[in-house]
Amino acid sequence: MDKKNLQTPKNWNLETLEDGRMVLNMGPSHPAMHGIVRVLLTVQGERVTASDVEIGYLHRGFEKTCENVTYNQCVPYTDRLNYVSPFINNVGFALAVEKLMGIETPARAQYIRVIMSELSRLTDHLTCIGANAMELGGFTVYFYLINAREALYRLTDAVAGGRVTPAYTRVGGLTSDLPPDFGQRAAEAFRIVRKNLSDADKMLTRNRIFYDRLRNTGSITKEEAVSLSFTGPALRSTGVPFDVRKATPYLVYDRFDFDIPVGSNGDNYDRYLVRMEEMRQSMRIVEQALAQLPDGPVNHPDFNVILPPKEEVCGNIEALMAHFKLTFEGVKPPKGEVYQAVEGGNGELGFYIVSDGSGRPWRVRVRPPCFSLTGGLSRMIKGGYIADIISTFGQINMIGGELER
C-alpha cells in the first residue's frame, strides 16, 4: 500500500498555523449537525477563512447495486436515497424507467404519484425547518413540526404501508390504490399540519433570535448559485424561479394552479421563507389533485410491464408466464438512455438510466440535489462566523443517503 496514505492526516488535530489562523475539525459527528459530514475549517478568530468539506461516510454503493438487480428491485433502494421524502425518489425512478420504455401510466396513477410526491415534499421541508430551528435553540418548534410530519407519515403509512421506506411505485404503476377514506384522512392531517405550521410561523418568522441567526448568513449570489449547479429552494432563494415542476412539467403538474416562491437575497432566511411557502403550495396541489382525482386503474394494462393480478396468474397460462418472466427477468426496456428530472425536496433529482436491453440496468446514475449544495457549502460559509455554519448547513438540508448514495 502507498506509504503516503498511511500517515495521519496533517490537519487532524487542532493546529495553529504560522499566521495565527487555526485549523479546526468540525464533525464527522457533530451534535448540532444532522448528517455525517466532516468540515475542516481554517479560522481566524471566529471567522472562517477556508474550509474543506469531506463526505462519503454514508456511501453504500446504490448505483453499483442497481446495476446488479432488476428494475423493480431498485425501487426499495431508492427509498433510502432521501429518506425524508422517499416517494419523490420512487416516482423519479419509475418515471425514468417508463420514459425509457416509452409508456405512460393511467391518469389515476399519475394523480396519486403527484399527491404522494407533494406529501413527501411537506415531510422534507418540515424536517428541514424543524431540525434547523432545533439546532438554533428553538426546541419547541421542532416538536410542533415533527408532530405535523407524524400526521403525514401516518397518512402515507395508510397508503403505502411504510412511513419512511414505502417502496410505493412500480415500473408502470403503483403497489396499491389509495385507501377509500384517503380524502378524509388527508383533510384531517392537513388540519394538523396547518395548525402546527402557523404556530411555527408565529414562533420563528418574526423571532428576533431566529431572524438574526438566519438573515445575511450563508449568502450566495444568483450567478454563483447557477455556476455551482444549485437547484431547489437554495437556488430559488437567490431569485431564480427554476422549478422542475413548472419548467418541464412531468406527471400532471401542468393541471394544477400553484406558485413558485422565490427569495431575493439568497441567504438562509430567504431559504427558510421559500420552504415555508412551498409547504402551503404543496397542500394546495394535493387538495386540487384530490378534487380532480379520476377513477380507473392505477397500473399499466400491459402484463409485460406490470405483474398481472393474482386471479389471472392462477387462472390462465399467459398471465402465469408473464408473472414468471417478470419475477425472474424483470421488465426489459429497449436499448437506450434517458435522463428524467423531478423536483425533489432539495432541488432537481435526476435519474440517468442506460439500458442494454436486458432486465437489469446497465447504468443508473442519480443526480442528487444536495450534492451540488454541499459542494457549495465552502463558498457559503466563507467569511462568516463558525456559529453560522449551523444555520447554513441546516438550510442546505444535507441528506446523507442521497448525497453519498
Binding site: T8, G56, S227, S229, E337, Y352, W362, R365, G375
Partner: protein, 157 residues
Amino acid sequence: MTSYLLETFKAKFPDDVLETHSFRGDDTVLLKKEALLKAASYLKDELGFDFLMDLTAADYLPREPRFELVCHFYSSKHNYRLRLKCPVPEAGASVSSLTALWDGANWFEREAYDMYGIKFEGHPDLRRILMYESFEGHPLRKDYPLKKRQPRIPHRD
C-alpha cells in the same frame, strides 16, 4: 426527427460531432473528447446553457473506447436540456475539466474520478470524494466485482 439545436451544433463543430440522436426526446450529442471544452464554452456563452445539471461517466467494458463521459446541460433561458457525451479510451483515461466554466463541475468530476478513474485535466483538486484515500480500484467500473473486499487500513492514532 432532428432538432434545431442538434443541427446548429453539428454545423458549428462538423469535424468533432460523432453522432447525434433524440431518443425519447432527450437531445444527445456524441462528441470527440478533445472538443469538450470548446463545445461546452460554446454552449454556455452562445447558446445560453447556464446550468451544468449533471456530470458523470459510464463504463461499457468490452467496447472500445471503454468509458463515456456524460454531461447534462440545462438552459434556464430557453428551458431546454442537452446531453453531451464523450467517448474516453481506457489507456490513460483523461478528459479536460469543466471547472473553469462551472464551479459545480468540481465535485461532479471528483466523483467521476473516484468511481471510474477518469482523470480531469485542469481540475484544481482532483481527489477521491466518496471513497477514502487508500481505497484500491474504482468501484463503478464493470470489472470491479460487486462483493470485492478491501484490504484493512491500519488504525490511526
